[in-house]
Amino acid sequence: VLGTWRRIYALVLGCLALWILLFLLFERAFS
């Protein structure tokens, strides 16, 4: 069903946003 793919795409894009946020926090925590 179309909704399944939409959830998977949202998961991939959500993870990308999460990586960027974590990288920013990582840098801030150790600099």
Partner: protein, 559 residues
């Protein structure tokens, strides 16, 4: 290299080749040989996609990049997950529905023969040259650091790849890549764990991160915008998106990986899994480089990590000055180590800020001495690239890691080199057969096409080895060849985007728009300081814009 290292290295390479040969047996038609009968599952395709993209220089150069410049390079990959989603929605269903063998085959049905031939020809040029460098770059590093004969290395790696790629085709490549990814992951994981365990006495992993962070080595995200800065959040998200869209959507060496999927869903999941895994994988490799940087904060490091370049200076008129700079650098390294320990002791106390300033000052002093040495190296060998990022990680491995692990890391480097080369000559062979030979001589039957495919793959393998042998005479032209991909990718992507989305554009408009856009991208390369990551976006936008404009001009036949 100990005997254990040789056993691990030899055993890993023999296993990859024999496993590839065994899994690749039984290809009886061109579809079996070129597309593995379209029966692959998503996790096999995903490993294959990742192994194709990650060449040996990825694993040698990326930690060195973190050592020299911090973790900013990770931004290069931020556009990749976006591209995976776009490709899954658009390209994958179209290619599957049309049952194409190559990406360029689609262009003839949509436009005309000359547009298809132009795209296939651009791919054959850029990938044909790049595949030689895929095996040349790591062979050069190994010859300098281990004294191995570079010519023997090139012939050995090239021959091992050709044994299973020529005989077994895409299925052999795909299964060999699965084992190669396991070897690569094990090698990098063990190196990372030991890099943490081999930190100096009293320095914990958290301490190491604080030392790296204090000196700007954990700078993963740069939010400012600068056209000439290669790695920022924006160049990564926008430029990296267009680059990934071009590479995964129009480069046959990647397209051929997901065309083997048994269904649209299998191909989609492979691309999306790649999008999920790629960014954290690169982050961890860069983190390994940051740990190597910390290691050399406490341990004396060479002024320059490429011993061949140092020997050239020591044989010239500036030998005494270079020796003096090396002595100054050693003294500065000791002050830096003292500063790093003082910083760790002062953490959490009021003395932290001045201790941090002292450490940064010691690092600045070391860096300026290193730059002084690099200037001498540049003068001793004008026309060569005085960068040692490719040598940092392997120098660290050879000097600091125990027997057995060195062999495992070298097996990972060889696996990465072989996995990229195998996929590339496999794709070059497929494009030669499908877009040139079959188009010229017509359908000659699956058996004959299988043998032509083997012959074409063998020919491209030989060309790769010969070009790699010649690459040592190219000097800085090697970098130009590396950048060649970015000069063509945007244009090819533009052709495909027009094909998919601008229905009113026909063959002539797309062809001429591509030629004009290509000239504009080459002009950007020659006459501007715009970073190469933007070339893909510029070329692509120009093709779409010009083709759309040309489509409004009535043709002679309809006027």
């Amino acid at each position: 290299m100990s005997r254990l290292d040789w056993i691990i290295l030899g055993g890993a390479l023999a296993f990859v080749v024999l496993y590839g040969l065994w899994k690749g047996r039984g290809s009886r038609t061109s579809e079996g040989y070129l597309l593995s009968n379209r029966d692959a599952r998503w996790f096999t395709i995903c490993l294959s996609i990742m192994a194709t993209q990650a060449s040996a220089i990825t694993f040698l150069s990326t930690p060195g990049q973190a050592y020299a410049d911090g973790m900013r390079f990770v931004q290069f990959y931020l556009g990749l997950p976006l591209a995976m989603v776009v490709l899954s929605v658009t390209v994958v269903p179209i290619f599957h529905r049309l049952k194409v063998f190559t990406a360029y085959e689609y262009l003839e049905g949509r436009f005309d023969l000359k547009t298809r031939t132009l795209a296939a020809f651009l791919f054959l040029i850029q990938r044909g040259l790049a595949v030689g460098l895929t095996i040349y770059a790591p062979a050069l590093v190994l010859s300098v650091l281990l004294g191995w004969n570079i010519h023997l290395n090139l012939v050995l790696v090239g021959s091992l790849v050709m044994i299973y790629t020529v005989t077994g085709g895409t299925r052999a490549v795909s299964w060999a890549q699965s084992t190669q990814m396991v070897i690569i992951t094990c090698g990098m994981l063990v190196a990372g764990i030991l890099a943490v365990r081999h930190l100096p006495q009293g320095v914990s992993f958290t301490d190491a991160l604080h030392v790296a962070g204090a000196q700007g080595r954990l700078n993963a995200i740069t939010t400012s915008f600068d056209w000439s800065d290669r790695y920022t959040l924006w160049s990564g998200l926008i430029g990296g998106f267009f680059l990934a869209l071009s590479y995964f959507g129009t480069d046959q060496s990647q397209v051929q990986r997901y065309l083997t999927g048994s269904t649209v869903a299998q191909s989609r999941l492979a691309l999306l899994a790649n999008g999920l895994l790629k960014v954290p994988m690169q982050f961890l490799i860069l983190l390994l480089g940051a740990l190597v940087f910390v290691h050399y904060q406490f341990t004396p490091s060479p002024l320059f990590f490429n011993p061949a370049a140092v020997e050239r200076v020591l044989a010239g008129p500036e030998a005494a000055a270079f020796r003096s700079t090396e002595a100054d650098y050693r003294a500065a390294s000791e002050r830096r180590a003292t500063g790093a320990r003082a910083f760790l002791l002062a953490r959490g106390t009021p003395a932290e800020a001045p201790a941090r300033s002292a450490l940064v000052q010691a690092q600045v002093e070391s860096t300026s001495l290193r730059e002084k040495g690099v200037a001498m190296i540049r003068r001793a060998a004008p026309g060569t690239n005085p960068s040692d990022t490719n040598y940092v990680f392997l120098s660290y491995v050879l000097a600091s890691l125990p027997a057995g692990v060195v062999g495992l890391v070298l097996a990972a480097v060889f696996s990465a080199s072989m996995s990229s080369m195998s996929a590339e000559i496999n794709a070059l062979g497929a494009t030669t057969v499908v877009d040139l030979w079959r188009r010229r001589f017509g359908d000659q039957g699956p058996r004959k096409e299988l043998w032509v495919g083997r012959l074409a793959t063998f020919g491209w393998g030989c060309f790769a080895i010969l070009f790699a042998e010649y690459a040592s005479r190219l000097g800085t032209l090697v970098e130009a060849v590396n950048i060649l991909g970015s000069l063509f990718y945007g244009t090819i992507l533009g052709i495909f985007l027009v094909a998919f989305y601008v229905k009113r554009v026909q063959g002539g408009a797309a062809f001429w728009a591509a030629l004009v856009a290509e000239a504009a991208v080459v002009a950007c390369f020659l006459f501007t300081r715009i970073s190469f990551l933007w070339y893909n976006a510029i070329g692509c936008v120009l093709v779409v814009g010009i083709a759309s404009l040309l489509s409004f001009i009535p043709s002679r036949r309809t006027a």
